[in-house]
């Protein structure tokens, strides 16, 4: 078995106390929520914090207030809680689908929404033991100079692999960040940075306390995830789409987000704009698909072949938009995602 390095473990009772500890300890301290990402990383010596500040004893971080006009989700809500809660299923199905497809049931029992948003970026040259990384003389993401995916790249190309990130972005989420210096609110899209190493704009002393969603009334949303197996696997490509329709099926507002195709979830703005004031007829979908798929430039650092992942991107955008339109996509879902998750509701 791989062993954890030694560390101090702190269990504050309030967000303010947690922020105080982070402030005092400096960047040697890290937040731990479910630990399902951080602890495996620590075993591989990707992160070796001296102090872990646990959020699990803080009351008030695990509630969910869902409302048609404005919703607030605590960052310590577990993915299992989201997956089991019918309010999510009916109100924001993209989030529900994304959370239901993360990892395995056991991991979802521990994994939190905040941890999922802040999930470390992933790469085949990085998610390896210390000894393995030594055998390639390390890489740009950690302890080394070269990016082995793109040798001349000035930045790290590790891949954003969060499932709920793209889904929440499609739902227009904002996040609240807490630190000893105060509180700030940013759009989730602004939390991300297209750099595998500095993938969040969050400062090390900041805690994500809540996720806020705007009005959900009239919105439909969906999430498509590419993975090799029906369980366990991180996404190696994903498409989240959400749209608000008029009563006669005309798109009034839309967002499309492509996940796991860069170091951050990519907002397909042009594609979303192309849908506005139109019904999702085949040629409308085709146009948006071309625009969205153009964004995805997968590299050879995840499971599956990169050119094939690119090809699947268009397929998934099409599937997602057809599902938004109301097509029954359950057969496709089972075939390509091995998932029992239902379509949009």
């Amino acid at each position: 078995m791989m062993r954890l390095p030694l560390f101090d473990y702190r269990t504050p009772r309030t967000v303010a106390e947690a922020a105080q500890i982070l402030d005092g300890e400096g960047p040697e301290a890290m937040v731990i929520a479910g630990g399902t990402d951080l602890l495996p990383n620590m075993k591989r010596r990707q992160q070796t914090p001296r102090t872990l500040v646990s959020l699990r004893r803080i009351e008030g971080l695990s509630g969910a207030h869902l409302d048609h006009s404005a919703s607030q989700l605590g960052s310590c809500l577990t993915l299992a809680e989201i997956a089991e809660d019918p309010r999510f299923r009916n109100g924001c199905s993209a989030l529900w689908q994304a959370a239901s497809m993360v990892a395995t049931p056991h991991i979802r029992n521990m994994a939190t929404l905040g941890g999922n948003i802040c999930l470390d970026t992933r790469c085949m040259f990085y998610d390896q033991s210390y000894e393995w990384r030594q055998a390639i003389n390390f890489c740009k993401k950690k302890d080394g100079e070269t990016c082995w995916v793109a040798n001349s790249s000035p930045r790290c190309m590790a891949v954003s692999s969060t499932d709920t990130g793209p889904a929440l972005m499609a739902l227009g989420a904002r996040v609240i960040l807490h630190s000893a210096r105060g509180e700030r609110e940013v759009t989730l899209a602004d939390l991300y940075n297209n750099d595998g190493r500095e993938y969040l704009t969050r400062r090390p002393d900041e805690i994500v306390s809540d996720i806020r969603l705007g009005p959900l009334h009239g919105w439909r949303s969906t999430y498509w995830k590419l993975r090799r197996r029906g369980s366990f696997d991180f996404p190696v490509l994903s498409v989240a789409a959400a749209a608000r329709f008029s009563h006669d099926g005309v798109v009034e507002e839309a967002r499309i987000v492509v996940g796991s195709a860069a170091s951050r979830p990519l907002v397909a703005e042009e594609a979303a704009r192309s849908l506005l004031n139109r019904r999702l007829e085949p040629e409308v979908i085709e146009e948006a698909t071309t625009l969205a798929a153009r964004l995805a430039k997968p590299l050879d650092n995840t499971d599956f072949d990169m050119s094939w992942r690119k090809k699947v991107t268009s397929q998934f955008v099409t599937y997602a938009l057809r599902e938004l339109r109301g097509d029954d996509m359950r057969a496709e879902r089972t075939r390509v995602m091995h998932s029992q998750a239902d379509g949009v509701s």
Partner: protein
């Protein structure tokens, strides 16, 4: 007992978590060991400085290659490993030094203080590179350059056979390597006991071979070493070699006088490997218009990795069993195994045979299509017959292949589905044959392959001592059931001690599907002997002829007057009073196989052969190439199902493993741009990234046993743990073809490959994905053996003179 579904004897311990695996063992004063492994794929070790590690607080001992210089290897002809590398590392992960410390974390920290000075050597990543670069040699003893071993046989005039053919098919296939992935990672605890002798608790499939290797390397009499094979959390062939860590902890325990434990990480298990050899195969097959095969020529380029392991045997198996499924009158086989700078390959479930079985079964599907014959019908025409003596002189016994095909066709609805399902949906069929125990031991000897001892006493308890290894397959249960059946008692009344070289008689190990047949026959013999003693004593007491006594329901009674009876316990007491303490033995030596007299003819011999047929139905997404296996039907000729639940478990486990290999598993390596790095690393040595299917990806499975007792099997039983895996991969390939009309001549069959083949099809080119070339090489002069129908007597007509007597170092090359 026999033939009824029963709870296995070790079930309770396993489901309640009471079973003690090697990693669960914790002993007073125990120290922990960690191994320093090479970060380089190929390098010379100039020097090792261990002084800083030794000075680290909590460190007891640091060992290097110098401390354990004697070589070992599972096969007598491949003694090419040392517990720690002495002067050369040959793959990333090759162990170089060991630290033994008070805590595991301390040992791990101290590893970083060891300084190794390496001189980097050029690396070889695959057989074609090995052919192009005979130097530097990865091993000096290889046959030529980096060719480890070549085998070449010709049974009959193959060219003449091709001349008689109406059509000749030539196909090239590639089968990627994959690994066993047992749930339990290897772990060992070594103890120096109060007499100064050694006990090693370890997760192994072959305690007897390990016992011999320990004796050699530690230079200790085998009688002073006890190997205890702890209950094993899965082996599949991956725990059949003696491993580095087992020698290291043994040496350390002897030196320190403390128990020493090691638990490998999952990554280290990937470096132990010994999994499926990658094989690049060219099949040339001549057929008549009716499908009859006139000749076959198979060439096999085998990627062996950095050490010999079972590789010489694997090279034979890479072609030996082609003749035991379909009748092939003339056959040429050329196989060559290469050394490469990657963890060594070895035996994985099916050992060396699934790869060529894949090629042959896919090629038959192509032949059937060209000849416009239904693939099931074609196979029925060419299937081997009971008691056939094959072209390479393998003596078959019972053969249920025909029934397997007929039944699988019936239960799968084949006739309504084949070439009739809508686009994207398809069915495929494939068959196979496997052996029930290798006919020869790994080292030459004239002793039994299995032994069993029974002890019965007045308590009523029957104690069974076996050398066999319970690796999850259910061998303890099967042995208990056979003894219980003979003695008329319940398995719960028997206590089984297995896998302990001090307690049980020698058994060669849990490999080659040998235990049920070989140890089973030994167990029956021991039980019959005990029964005879009891019958004699009871006959005196009841005053009935002993022939009339029956043993059933925990009693011994007169068949003519069942009320005349004693209980089983009374029967033991009577026997104990009459004969003294009751203990019996049984042993099993496979029958002589006189047919094959040529050198290498021992490989593939077996007391009995099993047969399987499989139909797979798949759903292929034409846009993405993603495949979902919808349903699978398997029929397996196993002679007799001793415990149908266990047998079904073996079949379903084989199918699970086969589907993983078919669709996704790859033991794959990565090179970095050579101007920047000399790395050659395993791409994903972790359970998350090495993809194998999950329960959610498993289809519904329908299993049917074809039962026809084989006289050589205990109660008629043959194997069922390996054979059913073999047809799965080719059946999937054939089903994909039926679904979307593309040939994937390569395993695994990933969506990327399917999409590429679909694009070829769309462009009007050959609708196929697979290897497009085959290396040119010299295979050497084949051993020419005329087949039985050409008047052959099993001898080669061009055999070079054999060495007179196998010496201890260079004992004969033998089997899996």
């Amino acid at each position: 007992m026999i033939g009824h579904a029963r709870r296995r004897v070790d079930a309770r311990g396993k489901v309640t978590g009471q079973t003690i695996y090697a990693d669960d063992i914790s002993l007073p004063r125990m120290a922990y060991c960690k191994l320093l492994r090479s970060p380089h794929p190929h390098a010379r070790i100039r020097s090792i400085d261990t002084s800083r590690a030794l000075a680290h607080p909590g460190v007891y001992l640091v060992l290097t290659g110098k401390d354990l210089p004697i070589k070992y290897g599972i096969l007598p002809v491949s003694q090419d490993e040392t517990p720690l590398c002495v002067d050369r590392v040959r793959h990333v992960g090759d162990p170089v030094a060991a630290v033994i410390a008070r805590e595991e974390l301390t040992a791990a920290d101290a590893l970083e203080l060891i300084e190794v000075d390496y001189e980097i050597l050029p690396t070889i990543a695959d057989p074609e590179e090995a052919l192009a670069n005979p130097e530097p040699r990865i091993h000096d003893y290889s046959e030529e350059g980096n060719i480890h071993k070549r085998v070449a046989f010709e049974f009959g005039d193959v060219d003449k056979g091709f001349a008689e053919a109406d059509e000749i098919f030539e196909d090239t296939f590639f089968f990627q390597g994959n690994t066993h992935l047992p749930m339990e990672q290897h772990a060992s605890v070594a103890v120096r006991d109060r007499e100064g002798k050694l006990t090693l608790y370890t997760s192994t499939q072959t305690p007897h071979y390990l016992h011999r290797a320990l004796s050699k390397v530690l230079e200790m009499p085998a009688g002073h070493i006890r190997v205890v094979a702890t209950p094993c959390g899965g082996g599949f062939g991956g725990k059949s070699d003696p491993f580095n860590h087992e020698f290291v902890v043994s040496k350390a325990a002897l030196m320190l006088g403390r128990p020493v434990k090691i638990s490998l990480t999952r990554e280290e298990v990937f470096y132990c490997h010994r999994g499926r050899h990658p094989m690049l195969m060219k099949f040339r097959t001549g057929v008549k218009k009716d499908g009859t095969i006139t000749a076959m020529h198979l060439q096999n380029v085998i990627d062996g990795g950095a050490y010999g392991s079972y590789g010489v045997a694997s090279t034979f198996y890479g072609g030996t069993l082609q003749t035991t499924t379909y009748h092939i009158p003339k056959y040429r086989y050329q196989g060559a195994r290469f050394f490469t700078n990657k963890p060594p390959c070895g035996p994985k479930r099916g050992h060396g045979t699934p790869q060529p079985r894949f090629g042959q079964e896919v090629q038959i599907d192509k032949i059937a299509e060209k000849l416009k014959i239904d693939p099931a019908e074609l196979r029925l025409r060419i299937a081997v017959k009971p008691n056939e003596l094959t072209a390479n002189f393998l003596q078959l016994g019972t053969v249920g292949l025909e029934q397997c095909i007929r039944r699988v066709v019936a239960i799968s609805g084949w006739k309504d589905k084949f070439r009739k399902l809508p686009e994207g949906r398809g069915v495929g069929l494939a068959c196979s044959c496997y052996l029930t125990g290798a006919g020869l031991s790994i080292y030459w000897n004239a002793m039994p392959h299995s032994g069993i001892q029974l002890k019965l006493d007045r308590s009523g308890c029957v104690t069974l001592f076996a050398g066999t290894t319970e690796i999850g397959q259910g061998s303890d249960d099967v042995l208990a059931a056979m003894v219980a059946e003979v003695l008329g008692i319940k398995t719960f009344d028997i206590r089984v001690y297995s896998g302990d070289t001090d307690l049980g008689p020698v058994d060669l190990g849990s490999y080659s599907s040998r235990v049920t047949l070989m140890a089973g026959n030994a167990a029956i013999q021991a039980a019959e002997r005990a029964k005879a003693m009891m019958a004699e004593a009871v006959a005196d007491k009841l005053e009935v002829p002993k022939e009339r006594l029956r043993f059933a329901d925990s009693a011994v009674f007169d068949a003519a007057a069942p009320e005349k009876r004693v209980t089983f316990v009374e029967a033991i007491c009577l026997a104990e009073a009459r004969f003294g303490t009751i203990g019996t033995v049984g042993s099993y030596t496979p029958p002589k196989f006189p047919a094959a007299k040529y050198k290498g003819g021992g490989v593939g011999t077996s007391p009995a052969y099993t047969f399987s047929a499989t139909v797979v139905e798949v759903d292929v997404d034409t846009a993405t190439g993603l495949v979902r296996v919808a349903k699978l039907w398997n029929t397996h000729d196993l002679g007799r199902a001793l415990n149908p639940v266990l047998a079904r478990g073996q079949v379903e486990g084989s199918i699970y493993m086969g589907l993983g290999e078919a669709l996704m598993e790859e033991q794959d390596y990565r090179r970095l741009p050579s101007r920047l790095s000399h790395a050659l690393v395993h791409k994903f040595p972790s359970m998350l990234d090495y993809k194998t299917i999950t329960s959610l990806d498993m289809p519904e499975i329908v299993t049917e046993f074809i039962e026809g007792p084989d006289a050589r099997g205990p109660f008629g039983a043959k194997e069922c743990g390996q054979g059913p895996l073999l047809p799965v991969m080719p059946a999937v390939a054939n089903a994909i073809y039926d679904a979307v009309g593309v040939r994937i001549d390569e395993v695994p069959m990933t969506p990327e490959k399917i999409v590429r083949a679909l694009a070829e099809k769309k462009a009007g080119r050959a609708p196929r994905y697979g290897p497009d070339h085959f290396p040119e090489m010299s295979w050497g002069e084949p051993l020419r053996v005329p087949p039985p129908w050409d008047g052959g007597d099993g001898r080669a007509i061009n055999e070079p003179p054999r060495q007179p007597k196998p010496s201890r170092e260079k004992e004969k090359v033998l089997t899996p």
